[in-house]
C-alpha cells in the first residue's frame, strides 16, 4: 500500500516537473526570440509605399494582354478583385463571389455575388457586370487569346441581380479555381464602363482597395486609396507607387538606400545578400509551374525517344539551378509544385553512363541546335546544356535570340530545343492539354502518345479530386518517360521588403497581394 502511494506521489511529482520543464522550455524559447514590437503592433493607416518592379506593365485589358507578369499581377491585385481567392491549401475564399454551387450534372455552376460593391468609376458591381466581363471573353469575334484555358465555359448568364450561372460544355472539376487565377487578367472583374469606352488597358478600373491615379510609362504606375472600398477598415496605405527599375542591382541598391520599400527579386546572389541584411525581410513562396526546355519531338534526331532520354540523363538540373540561380529556386520533377504529391514522378536523374548507352543504341552522330533567350540566364542554359551533352557525344549549337523570334520558331516547330516555361496556374490540366495533347493546335513539341491523350482527356472529365490528382501525376510521369521537355528548375517567388513594412501576406499562386500592407513606423 505504502509502495503504491510512493509510486503515485512519484508519478505526480514527475508530472509537475514535466509541466515546469515545458514552461521553462517555452520561456527560454520566447526569451531567445524576442517579439519584434512591430509584429505585435496594430495596423496603422496612412503612408506611401514604393514597390520596385522589374519591368513596366503592358496594360490591363484581357483582350489586349492575356497573361500578367508577376509585378503586373501584384499591381492588378491592388486595383481589381477576383470572384474568389484561395488559401494555401487551395480552399476557396469569397471575395466578390460569396458562394459557388455546382448543378447535379456538374455542368452548371451558380455563383452568388457580393452586394453593395461599386467599381471605381461608380458602376455598380452586379450580375450584369460579371456577365459583361465574361461574355466579352467568350465572344469568338473578340479573339480572346486565353480562350483555350477557359474552353469548357460556354455561356455566362444572369439569374438575378446578384446571381450568375456558368454553363460548361462538360464536367470540369477545376472550374472554380480558374476564377481565382492571379496571373490571368480574365479572372479579375473590371468596370464594364471602362471596357466599353476602351480605357481599361491604360486607366484600369476595378473594385479593389486602390484606384488608378497615373501611369507614366517606363517610370511609375500610381494607385491611391479607394475611400469607398467595401472592406471599411482597408486599405491602410494612402498610396502605392510601382516604380519600374529594370536593373536588379539598382533595384536592390534603391531598397538598401531607402528610395524603395519593397522589391521583386529573382537573382540568387542578391537574395542571399538580402537574407544577411537585418534591416530587410525576405518573403518567399513556392508556386507551381517550372522553367523548362521544350524538345521538338517531330524533328530528327529528337523524334527518337532514345536521343531525348539520353539528353535528359545528360542534363544536370541540380548543377544548373546552383550555378544560375544560386539555389534560390527548387528542383522540379513535375510542374505541380507543392500542390500535388507526385514524388519524383519518374524523373530522369543525371546519369552519364545511361545517357551514353542510349546514344550508343541510337548509333548515329547527334547534332542539335538549342535556342535560348539572349539574356545572361539564357546563355548559361545554352552553354551548360552544350557542356553536359558534349560528355555523351552530342554536339549542341547554341543560339541566343530575343523572345519574339523564339516564340515564332517554337510555334512553327522550327527548332530542336528551346528554353520555355510553364507559368504558375491554379490548375495545370488545361495547360498540359494544350501543350501535349496530340491534336491540340498549340502542341509546340509535336508530342504524340495515345496514352498521354487518354490521360489528358481523363483529367478533364474526372470529378473525384483524388483520382484527378493521380491522373495528373501519371501525366507528369509519362512526360518524364518520353521527355518532350527538360526541367530547368521550379518556381519560387521572392519579395524583399524593409523591416518596417508590415502586413505582407504569404505568397500564393506566384503572386503576393500588397494591398493590406502598412508601414510600421
Amino acid at each position: 500500500m505504502k509502495n503504491n502511494d510512493t509510486k503515485i506521489n512519484m508519478v505526480r511529482r514527475i508530472k509537475s516537473y514535466r509541466i515546469f520543464f515545458v514552461l521553462f522550455l517555452l520561456v527560454s524559447i520566447l526569451s531567445y526570440f524576442p517579439l519584434d514590437p512591430l509584429w505585435a503592433a496594430e495596423a496603422k493607416h496612412g503612408g506611401i509605399l514604393t514597390f520596385g518592379s522589374e519591368n513596366d506593365f503592358r496594360g490591363f485589358d484581357p483582350l489586349k494582354i492575356n497573361a500578367l507578369s508577376i509585378c503586373g499581377a501584384i499591381a492588378s491585385s491592388t486595383i481589381h478583385e477576383r470572384l474568389f481567392d484561395t488559401d494555401s491549401k487551395g480552399n476557396l475564399i469569397p471575395v466578390l463571389g460569396l458562394s459557388v454551387t455546382p448543378s447535379k450534372d456538374g455542368k452548371k455552376w451558380t455563383i452568388a455575388l457580393r452586394q453593395g460593391v461599386s467599381f471605381h468609376d461608380g458602376t455598380p458591381f452586379n450580375a450584369d457586370a460579371v456577365v459583361y466581363n465574361w461574355s466579352r471573353l467568350l465572344n469568338p469575334e473578340n479573339k480572346f487569346r486565353g480562350r483555350a484555358s477557359i474552353a469548357p465555359i460556354q455561356l455566362v448568364k444572369k439569374i438575378d441581380e446578384f446571381t450568375v450561372q456558368f454553363d460548361l460544355s462538360h464536367i470540369w472539376l477545376p472550374f472554380p479555381k480558374i476564377l481565382t487565377d492571379t496571373r490571368a487578367l480574365s479572372s479579375y472583374m473590371m468596370s464594364p464602363k471602362a471596357l466599353k469606352e476602351d480605357t481599361q488597358s491604360r486607366a484600369p478600373a476595378g473594385t479593389g482597395p486602390f484606384m488608378f491615379k497615373e501611369w507614366k510609362s517606363g517610370d511609375r504606375f500610381v494607385v491611391v486609396k479607394n475611400p469607398n472600398y467595401w472592406q471599411k477598415e482597408k486599405p491602410y496605405l494612402d498610396k502605392i507607387i510601382f516604380k519600374s527599375v529594370p536593373d536588379h542591382q539598382t533595384r536592390f541598391a534603391s531598397l538598401e538606400s531607402g528610395q524603395i520599400d519593397v522589391i521583386f527579386m529573382d537573382r540568387g546572389h542578391i537574395i542571399k545578400r538580402a537574407e544577411g541584411n537585418d534591416s530587410l525581410v525576405l518573403y518567399q513562396g513556392e508556386s507551381n509551374g517550372a522553367e523548362i526546355a521544350l524538345l521538338n519531338t517531330t524533328k530528327p534526331p529528337l523524334d527518337d525517344p532514345r536521343v531525348r532520354r539520353a539528353i535528359a540523363h545528360a542534363w544536370n538540373q541540380e548543377v544548373y539551378v546552383n550555378m544560375s540561380y544560386k539555389n534560390s529556386i527548387p528542383i522540379a520533377h513535375h510542374p505541380f509544385g507543392n500542390g500535388l504529391s507526385c514524388g519524383d514522378a519518374g524523373y530522369r536523374n543525371h546519369n552519364v553512363k545511361k545517357a551514353k548507352s542510349l546514344i550508343e543504341q541510337y548509333g548515329k552522330p547527334v547534332e542539335i541546335e538549342c535556342i535560348h533567350t539572349n539574356t545572361k540566364r539564357g546563355r548559361e542554359f545554352g552553354l551548360m546544356l552544350q557542356q553536359f551533352c558534349k560528355k555523351i557525344g552530342i554536339t549542341v549549337k547554341t543560339k541566343g535570340l530575343d523572345i519574339s523570334p523564339i516564340v515564332k520558331k517554337v510555334f512553327s516547330k522550327n527548332y530542336h530545343i528551346s528554353s520555355w516555361r510553364i507559368p504558375p496556374m491554379t490548375d495545370h490540366g488545361p495547360y498540359l492539354y494544350k501543350y501535349f495533347y496530340s491534336k491540340s493546335r498549340i502542341n509546340a513539341s509535336g508530342y504524340n502518345n495515345p496514352k498521354m491523350d487518354n490521360l489528358l482527356l481523363a483529367q478533364q472529365m474526372e470529378t473525384d479530386p483524388e483520382k484527378r490528382g493521380k491522373i495528373l501525376c501519371d501525366i507528369a510521369e509519362l512526360l518524364n518517360e518520353d521527355v518532350p521537355m527538360l526541367y530547368r528548375g521550379g518556381r519560387r517567388i521572392h519579395i524583399i521588403a524593409k523591416r518596417e513594412i508590415m502586413g505582407i501576406p504569404e505568397i500564393r499562386n506566384g503572386v503576393v497581394d500588397i494591398s493590406d500592407a502598412w508601414i510600421g513606423k
Binding site: R147, A148, K216, T250, S254, D402, K408, K434
Partner: protein, 320 residues
C-alpha cells in the same frame, strides 16, 4: 543676307533628305530583324491563325513599301500611331520621356564641360609638365571605366554609403526643383565622368596650337595677364573642335544614354527605344528613330551656325 537664306534653305533641304533616308533605312532594317511582335501579342496559347489575325490587325502583312508610305502619310498628319505592345500613343510616349532625356543630356554635358574646360586650359598652359601628365593619366583612367561600372560605384558611394543622393527615382520638375536635380545628379555625373575626357583632350591640343598664334604673342607682348589671355583670347578660337564633338555627343546621348537610363531607372528615350526594338514594336521604334534623327540633325545644324559666332573669321572666309 539673301545668300545666307539660300545656304540655310539648302541645309534644311539636306536635313530633310537625311531624315527621310534614315527613317526608310530603319524601316527596312527593323523589318529584316528576326521575329515578329504578332507572336508576342498573340501570346503563348496562340495558333498560327491567331498570329496571322494579329498581323492583319496591325497591318504587318502588307508590303513594306505600302507600310512605309502609310507611315509617312500619317506622319504628315502628325499621327505617329500607337504602340503595338501597350496601345500607348507613340507621340505621347516620346513627349513624356523627352524632358527626362533633355535634362539628362544638358546636365551631363554641363558637368563634363565644367571638368573639361578648366583642366583642358591648365594642361594646355603647362603642356608636358607634371600637372599635364597627372591630369591626363587621371582622365584616361576615367575613360577606361565602363559607364555601368561608374554608375554602380556612384550609387554605392553616394546612395548606399553616404545616403546623400537617391540611387533611382526620377522626380519631375513639378515635384520640386531641388528634388528634380537630386534625381539627376548621379546619372548626369555618371555620363560626365567618362565624357569630359575627350572634351579635355581636344581643348588641350587646340589651345596649345592657339597659344602659338601671332595674336597671342601680341597679347603677351602687351603684358596682359595669363588668365586674361587664356580666357579672353585663346579659349574662344580653341573651342571649335570641342563644339563639334559636343554636338555629336548631344545627338548621340538623346537615344544612346540607355545604359545610364537603365541603371538609374530613368524613363528616357533610349530605354524606350531599346525596349521597343527587343519587342519588335515597329510603331514605337519608328517614332523614336524619327525623333532622334530630327534631334541629331538639328543639334548639328545649330553647331554649324555656332562656329560663326565663336570665330567670325569663318563667316568672312565663307562670304569671300
Amino acid at each position: 543676307m539673301r545668300d545666307a537664306i539660300t545656304t540655310t534653305g539648302k541645309k534644311l533641304f539636306r536635313l530633310f533628305g537625311v531624315i527621310i533616308a534614315v527613317t526608310a533605312i530603319t524601316f527596312v532594317l527593323v523589318d529584316f530583324l528576326p521575329g515578329n511582335i504578332a507572336y508576342e501579342i498573340a501570346g503563348e496559347e496562340a495558333t498560327m491563325e491567331d498570329v496571322e489575325a494579329v498581323q492583319e490587325e496591325l497591318g504587318l502583312n502588307r508590303p513594306l513599301i505600302i507600310r512605309y508610305g502609310n507611315w509617312l502619310a500619317d506622319i504628315a498628319k502628325g499621327d505617329l500611331g500607337k504602340s503595338f505592345r501597350t496601345q500607348e500613343p507613340v507621340l505621347e510616349a516620346i513627349l513624356s520621356r523627352l524632358p527626362v532625356t533633355i535634362e539628362l543630356v544638358v546636365l551631363s554635358q554641363l558637368f563634363a564641360l565644367a571638368l573639361a574646360i578648366p583642366f583642358g586650359i591648365i594642361c594646355a598652359y603647362k603642356p608636358r609638365t607634371i600637372i599635364d601628365n597627372t591630369l591626363s593619366s587621371i582622365a584616361f583612367a576615367m575613360l577606361s571605366i565602363p559607364v555601368f561600372v561608374m554608375g554602380i560605384i556612384l550609387i554605392y558611394i553616394f546612395a548606399i554609403k553616404l545616403r546623400w543622393l537617391p540611387a533611382t527615382g526620377y522626380v519631375p520638375i513639378s515635384g520640386g526643383i531641388w528634388d528634380n536635380l537630386r534625381s539627376f545628379i548621379l546619372p548626369a555625373l555618371c555620363i560626365a565622368m567618362v565624357e569630359w575626357v575627350p572634351f579635355m583632350r581636344v581643348l588641350r591640343s587646340d589651345m596649345i596650337a592657339t597659344l602659338q598664334e601671332n595674336f597671342i604673342l601680341m597679347a603677351k607682348s602687351k603684358g596682359l595677364p595669363a588668365s586674361h589671355i587664356l580666357f579672353k583670347h585663346a579659349l574662344r578660337p580653341s573651342c571649335l573642335t570641342l563644339i563639334t564633338i559636343l554636338g555629336i555627343h548631344i545627338g548621340h546621348l538623346i537615344g544612346g544614354a540607355v545604359v545610364v537610363e537603365i541603371i538609374f531607372a530613368l524613363p528616357g528615350i533610349g530605354r524606350l527605344l531599346i525596349g521597343s526594338i527587343f519587342s519588335r514594336d515597329f510603331a514605337m521604334v519608328q517614332g523614336c528613330i524619327l525623333f532622334i534623327t530630327i534631334a541629331y540633325v538639328s543639334v548639328n545644324f545649330l553647331v554649324d551656325h555656332f562656329y560663326t559666332i565663336l570665330d567670325p573669321r569663318i563667316l568672312i572666309s565663307r562670304s569671300v
